[in-house]
Symmetry: C2
Subunit: 354 residues, 2 copies
């Protein structure tokens, strides 16, 4: 049976990427050796790293004033690294959910933090639109897509100070004005590749201002001077990420994937809004195109719904353990077909039980 | 042509491990999904993580007073994390080469460091045997195997203070008194698996003594309380590491691999010592069983030697760029056959040019 993979992360990857990644584990570039057992200083791998870094910038339409790195530790390590590299006097944060809160907690261990807006008052079901950005803060930090709560920034803050963004769950999913950001980071495991690498993109002129003597591994400047290979990089995760970015590019780039993602999200939310059994949990203008959160109105028939999901091969639709309900994760590699299978099940379910 | 892979790292992995790892990228445990695109909170992956942590302790013969974690960032991040978690007043380090020096430099950013011995005076060609361990230091740090210079600790310091060891390049290669160590860490990419995960094994009673408010990602205690899954772990690297540890266990455990490694090292060093064209670069009692460093006495015939290596399918024998010469990396998965192919080439070369 075909499985429709709605996993919130690690999330679905393109079939072609998986096939090529698997091949590389046996024989990389017809070298007779596995990608896993060659030197990261070999010409073959250095080219992978270079290509990955260059594709990341190309998909974000960034120029030579930006650098892209592939590091380790996930967004969670960036919650520490971003303030360590940028926070001198104070930083401004906007709290839109779990991950934003984690970022704030970690930044507070480094320096002064101003939380200038929060959507916690309505359980993180919206994105704050009213806030004043302190012009004396070192940067403003936001979380572009909130995987757990299912909200997404549609228009980004117009900030006179450097804008820092955790884009882990919607990187490369839509056209964004990347050059309005000074630092973007993203764990790979939703839209970019397997778990184990983190994309870090920054404007070079923001570095070197804190006066801190940084640990080498946590120093953006050192990592970029070492071409993202200060120590052995997570070779396989970088390779699979490179393949995924190449897949986006080959199929039509960000314009293509954004259009597809919009169709998927529209198909899904139309069903949620028209189906009497379900309701969305998020204020409409802030609905995420990546993670559509919804609940069953009548939980008495929950088991029936879950049985039908299972029969249709739908996997990973459960909401995050902290909020419950359902979450339709529609990452780049999820085909429209899977959305249609889901909405058909939702409709059939309503026909039976509404 | 069969390639004989002497890469110093990422190093050779068992063929069976590569085959199973490649299969998992297409279909993991007959789930119809790739290992790369399932939740790390799924029962299937939680079992992988549990199994990996338990195998690590089993191969090291450690009990319930120890914990094993699979983190990210390589040994280079441990150079920072070890002092961050353990250094309160001062720490003692022994400098046996490049990586030890890096560890010292990073520890100095955290607190006071005493370098109690160094082999730098003779270009790191031996392991210091005379030193006094300060009993008031928080720990003593050593590097069990020096990949670049080709030396290895044969007997470990008898320390009354906690002993910390970077075992990146000889973990699981020989029987060691692991319970004499309070903290062992090892980047996976030599003897344990692909690049992208780091084994961290520690005695639980050493934690919580510095009073530091640690960043979550850098806190051993938090990582262990979260079962090594505080954030998304490097799923694929952990899985392939688990397979490699299982391969050691299934084939006879550490006793088996140690015996095999000794035969390989003996075969190699016997050739170096009896062959008139070559000489070892390290004092004999300290020769590494993992990385055998040697040079050609007459560099005028270097190109001839390299041509013969290439014809025999020998890959990755070049010494580290900082020291030159050759390096025969004999990690666990390197078959004796590859050593014999190399020593045959060395003998043929001597027959022609001696």
């Amino acid at each position: 049976m075909k499985i429709h993979n709605f996993s919130a992360g690690p999330g679905i990857l393109p079939h072609d990427v998986l096939r090529k990644a698997a091949e590389s584990v046996i024989d990389f570039n017809n070298s007779g050796l596995s990608l896993l057992e060659i030197s990261h200083r070999s010409a073959d791998f250095e080219q992978v790293m270079q290509q990955a870094r260059s594709l990341a910038k190309e998909l974000l339409e960034l120029g030579d004033d930006y650098e892209a790195l592939f590091l380790q530790g996930g967004a969670s390590l960036q919650f520490h690294m971003a303030p360590l590299n940028l926070l001198k006097n104070k930083a401004a944060y906007i709290n839109t959910g779990n991950w934003a809160s984690e970022a704030i907690a970690e930044a507070r261990k480094v320096g002064e933090v101003n939380v200038i807006a929060s959507s916690e008052d309505r359980k993180f079901t919206y994105i704050p639109t009213k806030y004043t950005i302190p012009i004396d803060a070192d940067y403003l930090h936001i979380t572009s897509n909130n995987t757990i709560f299912g909200t997404q920034w549609k228009e980004f803050p117009q900030a006179e100070i450097p804008l820092v963004c955790d884009m882990s769950s919607d990187i490369f999913s839509r056209k964004i004005p990347a050059n309005q950001f000074s630092l973007i980071y993203a764990g790979a495991q939703k839209n970019m590749g397997p778990a184990g690498t983190t994309l870090v993109v920054f404007k070079k002129d923001i570095l070197g201002k804190t006066g801190r003597n940084l640990p080498k591994m946590l120093d953006y400047e050192l990592q970029y001077k070492k071409d993202s290979m200060f120590n052995t990089p997570p070779v396989f995760a970088v390779y699979a990420s490179m393949l995924t970015m190449q897949w986006i590019k080959d199929n039509g780039g960000i314009e293509w994937i954004e259009a597809l993602n919009k169709i998927k999200a529209k198909t899904f939310y139309n069903e949620v809004d028209s189906n009497p059994m379900f309701e969305g949990t998020v204020e409409k203008p802030f609905r995420s195109y990546m993670n559509g959160t919804f609940v069953l109105k009548n939980t008495a028939v929950e088991q029936e719904f879950e049985r039908m999901l299972k029969e249709a091969g739908i996997s990973g639709l459960k909401g995050h353990r902290s909020v419950g309900g359902y979450r339709c994760s529609m990452y780049n590699a999820l085909p429209l077909e899977s959305i249609k299978v889901l909405t058909n099940v939702m409709r059939e379910f309503a026909n039976k039980f509404a």
